[in-house]
């Protein structure tokens, strides 16, 4: 392997570890922290099924954001939906044709949608960036890190788009490199293409993976743990008690 490939292979593994371990640690922390009181924002569903539906509306449609601000909703939703489409398109660089979802990923529709989704991402991000700069309230609450996050994502989208629409890297070579990384070199290591755009794109994505578990990007797993959205509204029917709340009761019963 070339020095460049070795360097990126290491980066890739380190970033993956940071991402996975970081997110798992955070999820464990959220799951382990007690929720001592029932605090769903009402009106709230009175059944577990209802809660699943509520959560689905939030993460698929961003329903609360829709109620809140149509501009932020349209830009935010456009960005996230496009990201999802782009992600599907990218799976073809990491999967082999014998994978069960390959036929789906390989569909012309999925590939084309993923390609143009890059434009959707960029448009959504530019919109969000614009709000951050031009709306006095949003500007006030923004830190450099908030701008940085948008710029990073925008740069990822832009470098990706350039490869789709302007100068194509050697995809076959790239796929070989990625598969060799995924299989831990089982079938031998492959060198990565030395395409400037591609290297930029990969570097930025690796940066994003590292930042993910130490930033507000935690909203992705975090939203599922938000007690105001994931609790069933049944406090009268079913006694809700946390371990530390119960300890207070027990201490008193003993006294």
């Amino acid at each position: 392997m070339s020095a460049l490939s070795v360097f990126y292979a290491i980066l890739f593994y380190v970033a993956t570890l940071i991402l996975v371990i970081g997110v798992v640690r955070k999820i464990t922390q959220y799951a382990r922290t007690p929720a001592p009181l029932k605090i769903p924002t009402t009106p709230a569903p009175t059944t577990q099924t209802g809660v699943v539906l509520r959560m689905a509306r939030e993460v698929v449609l961003f329903s609360s954001l829709f109620k809140s601000n149509k501009w932020t909703w349209i830009f935010g939703w456009l960005f996230h939906f496009s990201l999802l489409l782009a992600f599907f398109r990218h799976l073809r660089y990491a999967l082999t044709p014998d994978c069960f979802i390959w036929p789906l990923i390989d569909l012309e529709l999925v590939q084309a949608a993923g390609k143009y989704a890059g434009l959707g991402m960029a448009a959504g991000l530019v919109g969000l960036f614009g709000r951050r700069i031009f709306v006095d309230r949003v500007r006030y609450i923004s830190s450099p890190s908030d701008y940085f996050m948008l710029i990073l994502l925008l740069a990822i989208a832009a470098s990706g788009l350039s490869m789709s629409f302007v100068s194509h890297p050697d995809i076959v070579n790239l796929k070989g490199f990625i598969l060799s990384l995924i299989t831990l070199g089982w079938n031998g290591w492959v060198n990565m293409p030395t395409d400037g755009l591609l290297i930029t794109h990969l570097t930025l994505v690796i940066l994003l993976m590292i930042i993910f578990p130490i930033s507000k990007l935690l909203h992705a797993p975090g939203v599922f743990f938000s007690p105001t959205r994931n609790q069933v509204d049944n406090p009268r029917e079913k006694r809700h008690i946390s371990p530390w709340g119960k300890a207070l009761d027990d201490a008193e019963a003993d006294a």
Binding site: L37, V138, H219, R236
Partner: protein, 502 residues
């Protein structure tokens, strides 16, 4: 009338341009040692308070998932920035929900996140919105966490449901733990421990008041409507905010409940030991104090041997009652399992209405054209009846059954989108009058809308704080203080008494 500018009322809610620091001067009185002590809080700012505050934050985020998750996941999208009535009324940047959260989040980031610690080492914590725990930060906390009524409106609009109320409660608890308590709340909690209610009304005075009410109703209607106190073996224990015992228009509501109980023919009582529905333990974010207050109700229910518990009209109280009472003071296995514990007086009245056990002469309320103010914590932190949203429909059904004229305020100001009265969450004190008046602006705007367009004359509410707050702030906006009424006051005026014997 006031040494501050009173906001003008626009036709519809509009979002003001942001101003910096215009409300920073407003701070409630600090609790002296005698008031801190009964709640087990230090009497004055402790030594090393910076470290202790940071440590307390660490402790709380380990005890409350809401706090831990909310501190992490805000993406600064800004969706909540124009949703708080205090921002709308004051234009102060730090009254935007996310900015209010950030006052605590900046400290969390600085001491508990990799990014914050990393950038602090480079001397640039602001890169990631982190900040050292300093006196300035504490001052900001004290000002702005006492300009949040914990109304949860921001939570409705946040894509992740981030509830600034949770953050405010945590911040107040941290401040209490380092000896910086708010006089109003902590004094009141002390009174509950000592006497049994927020007003410090002792048993004899209470008995006297209730006797007076019996006479008043008798003189008015010729009917012996009872206001029983400490009756052992009664079926129903009524827990009501102590303001109901004498404040206007609260007391008219209490008379309404008594008439409903009378017509239902039930055996009921109040308790002098637990003569308070409100639970200020929630306002200061203290589980321990909230629990201690709640358990007075358990004790009263056990001592009196009642079978059911019904709560009077009170907003934050209903949140604690509906959402937390089972947790804090349950299980209620010694009560009659056929009824929810606790029940709201509106649920009680509505059930009787459905069974055809109440008769109303609506014309008695014909001098009123009504609208209804959804109290924030009833709307967004509780329920009535067995369907989501019952907390909005049931009180309206009661109003419509007792009045001929009813108009709702604009849609984006009622229901789950309701604007707080401006005085909730421990802000109902004269030292915070400026933020109370300014924070009432969005509600006053909505009221003006229906007054101008539909000829509305009165607004009904089911919260002791809302009623007290509106009595005070309505005049600032050119209304009169008697334009706020209790829902059960309407019931009281329209109910046909002694129907069974007719």
């Amino acid at each position: 009338m006031a040494d501050f500018e009173i906001p003008v009322l626009n036709e519809y809610t509009r979002t003001p341009d942001l101003k910096k620091g215009v409300m920073a001067h407003l701070k409630p009185f600090v609790a002296k040692e005698v008031l801190q002590q009964p709640l087990n809080f230090p009497g004055e700012l402790v030594e090393n308070w910076e470290e202790k505050a940071v440590a307390k934050l660490g402790e709380l985020k380990g005890k409350y998932r809401s706090l831990q998750v909310f501190l992490d996941i805000c993406v600064k999208c800004g969706a909540c920035t124009d949703k708080c009535h205090y921002y709308l009324g004051t234009s102060d940047a730090k009254n935007m929900p996310v900015a209010r959260q950030d006052l605590l989040r900046q400290v969390y980031r600085r001491y508990y996140t990799f990014a914050g610690k990393f950038w602090a080492k480079l001397g640039m914590p602001w890169m990631v919105g982190a900040k050292d725990m300093t006196k300035d930060v504490l001052d900001d906390w004290y000002s702005y966490y006492h300009q949040c009524s914990q109304c949860r409106r921001c939570s409705v609009y946040c894509p992740y449901g981030i509830d600034t109320a949770e953050i405010s409660m945590a911040a107040r608890e941290i401040m209490d733990s380092i000896g910086v308590g708010q006089k109003y709340c902590n004094e009141i909690i002390g009174k509950v421990y000592k006497i049994g209610n927020n007003l410090g009304l002792p048993e004899p005075a209470l008995a006297d008041t209730l006797e007076g009410l019996e006479e008043e109703v008798k003189a008015d209607t010729g009917v012996d409507v009872k206001f029983p106190l400490d009756v052992k073996g009664a079926d129903i224990l009524l827990i009501t905010p102590s303001a109901d015992f004498f404040a206007e228009p609260h007391v008219d509501g209490l008379i309404g409940y008594a008439k409903v109980f009378h017509e239902a023919g039930v055996n009921w009582t109040m308790s002098s030991y637990a003569s308070e529905a409100a639970n200020f333990g929630m306002f200061i974010g203290s589980y321990e104090n909230m629990r201690r207050i709640s358990r007075r109700i358990r004790k009263a229910a056990l001592d009196l041997g009642v079978k059911r518990i019904v709560f009077g009209e009170c907003g934050h109280a209903w949140r604690v009652a509906y959402s937390f009472l089972n947790t804090l003071a349950g299980p209620w296995d010694f009560l009659d399992p056929r009824y929810p514990v606790p029940q709201h007086i509106c649920e009680f009245t509505f059930d009787l209405m459905k069974q055809g056990k109440l008769e109303f002469d609506k014309s008695q309320n014909d001098h009123r054209v009504m609208t209804y103010h959804d109290s924030c914590n009833v709307a967004r932190a509780s329920r009535m009846g067995d369907k989501p949203g019952g907390q909005m429909t049931i009180p309206r059904e009661i109003i419509k059954a007792t009045c001929n004229n009813f108009h709702d305020m604009p849609k984006d100001t009622i229901g789950e989108a309701t604007f707080c009265c401006g005085g909730g969450g421990g802000l109902l004190t004269d030292d915070l009058m400026e933020v109370r008046v300014k924070g009432a602006q969005p509600r006053m705007e909505a009221l003006k809308n229906v007054v101008d367009n539909n000829g509305v004359t009165h607004m009904a509410a089911i919260c002791a704080i809302c009623k007290a707050q509106f009595t005070k702030v309505l005049p600032y906006y050119g209304f009169t203080m008697d334009q706020i009424v209790s829902v059960h006051q309407l019931v009281s005026d329209a109910i046909v008494l002694n129907r069974k014997t007719d």
